[in-house]
């Protein structure tokens, strides 16, 4: 047990490049664990961007890290961060493509109860998401103009605080407060809505 912990601790001290080198040499699966510790929250965020729900992002994260055992042996990876981003993007896109194909050419007949069950789930999830987006858009219109502007820039247009300061000419402090208050007001509006 102590040896196990020591080994893991030793790996944590290493840089990505060193870990890649050791994995090529020793094929020690502990190294994948260290990569997981370092970057799983980032890879998960990337998966969220594509799937827009935590369950599918969770599954994708699991698949991506499972595939690392073999792919890191195969490829000569120089920069792990750049490489894992590409792997994550490709995985998400191919999964989305596969899923859309499955919906188009469903092998189950329409009489099958399974067919209906799965479609219902998917449809209700899509409807819930669409309703949420509609409600958000309505609620956004009711916010004060500064709050609306900052929330839209930060969350919808994916701007950073610095970019918002530049666009709006508000002080950073103000931007932070508009976003915080806007979030709170949006939440209140949405709670009243439902």
């Amino acid at each position: 047990m102590t040896i196990f912990l020591d080994k893991s601790k030793a790996y944590r001290e290493k840089s990505d490049e060193e870990l890649l080198f050791f994995y090529k040499k020793k094929k020690d699966t502990e190294i994948i664990g260290v990569f997981y510790e370092r970057y799983h929250h980032l890879v998960f965020g990337v998966c969220l961007k594509y799937f827009k729900n935590t369950n599918e992002a969770n599954e994708a994260l699991f698949d991506i890290y499972s595939s690392l055992y073999e792919s890191l042996k195969k490829y000569d990876v120089k920069d792990f961060k750049k490489w894992i981003l590409t792997v994550a993007r490709n995985h998400c896109l191919s999964e989305l493509k596969r899923k859309s194909k499955e919906t188009e050419f469903n092998p189950y007949s329409k009489n099958s109860p399974k067919y209906f069950m799965e479609s219902d789930e998917e449809i209700s999830l899509k409807i819930a998401t669409e309703q949420k987006i509609d409600a958000l858009q309505l609620a956004l219109k009711k916010l004060k103009s500064e709050q609306k502007q900052c929330i839209e820039l930060f969350f919808l247009e994916d701007k950073t605080y610095a970019e918002i300061v530049e666009i709006t000419a508000f002080e950073l402090k103000k931007v932070k407060s508009y976003i915080q208050n806007g979030k709170r007001n949006l939440q209140n509006l949405l709670n009243n809505e439902f």
Binding site: R12, H41, N58, F62, S66, K114, D158
Partner: protein, 196 residues
């Protein structure tokens, strides 16, 4: 100023990318100006973090309570709790653990009864792989000898719900592959691990 100088880098690991806690601080906008500047400077040079942040922003908007995504927030709550509460919680957990161990058989029987009723109604087979790599099917632990039989058990073609708490991804992957080869029905995987 970078994350290293600002002492807000992911200290547990040797990486300059922000930790989960850093992302929460940034998304909640309650952090200092210096922090925001260094965080955004990092984003300029790190595509991985930039794209992850986009994902978190989407998750925030689609969250029921318009809150920082729970998978990020969970750990922060624990970190913010003061030491007294932490130790009190550990002590209570230990007491609870002793109680559970003492009454293990009793509790597991009751649990199995209640979830079996649920499983019957929802028509799924519920597989579970624990942190200790133990495997259970519908709340009954399976010995390694019985594992093959259990895989053939799905005669009724029930859908499979597969909960994974083990960190041994190789073991999990091999079980999943075996399942997929034996069944042509959907397998839904999920995990409650503290990764999110």
């Amino acid at each position: 100023m970078n994350f290293k100088e600002n002492k807000i880098m992911n200290c547990k690991n040797k990486t300059e990318c922000p930790s989960k806690e850093n992302f929460i601080e940034y998304l909640e906008g309650k952090s200092s100006q210096d922090f925001i500047i260094s965080f955004e400077r990092h984003l300029e040079n790190c595509e991985l973090c930039k794209e992850a942040l986009q994902g978190y922003k989407i998750a925030f908007l689609l969250d029921k309570n318009l809150d920082t995504p729970k998978f990020l927030k969970h750990k922060k709550k624990i970190l913010n709790t003061n030491y007294f509460i932490k130790w009190a919680a550990v002590f209570t957990l230990l007491l609870g653990l002793i109680f559970v161990l003492n009454n293990y058989k009793k509790i597991s029987k009751q649990h199995a009864k209640s979830t079996k009723t649920l499983l019957h109604k929802t028509n799924v087979n519920y597989w579970y792989i624990g942190k200790n790599k133990k495997i259970a099917l519908n709340d009954t632990f399976i010995k390694s000898d019985d594992f093959k039989k259990a895989l053939d058990y799905n005669n009724n073609k029930k859908q499979i719900v597969f909960q994974v708490e083990s960190t041994d991804l190789k073991q999990v992957e091999s079980i999943l592959q075996k399942m997929k080869s034996k069944n042509d029905i959907p397998i839904y995987t999920f995990s409650k691990r503290s990764m999110f």
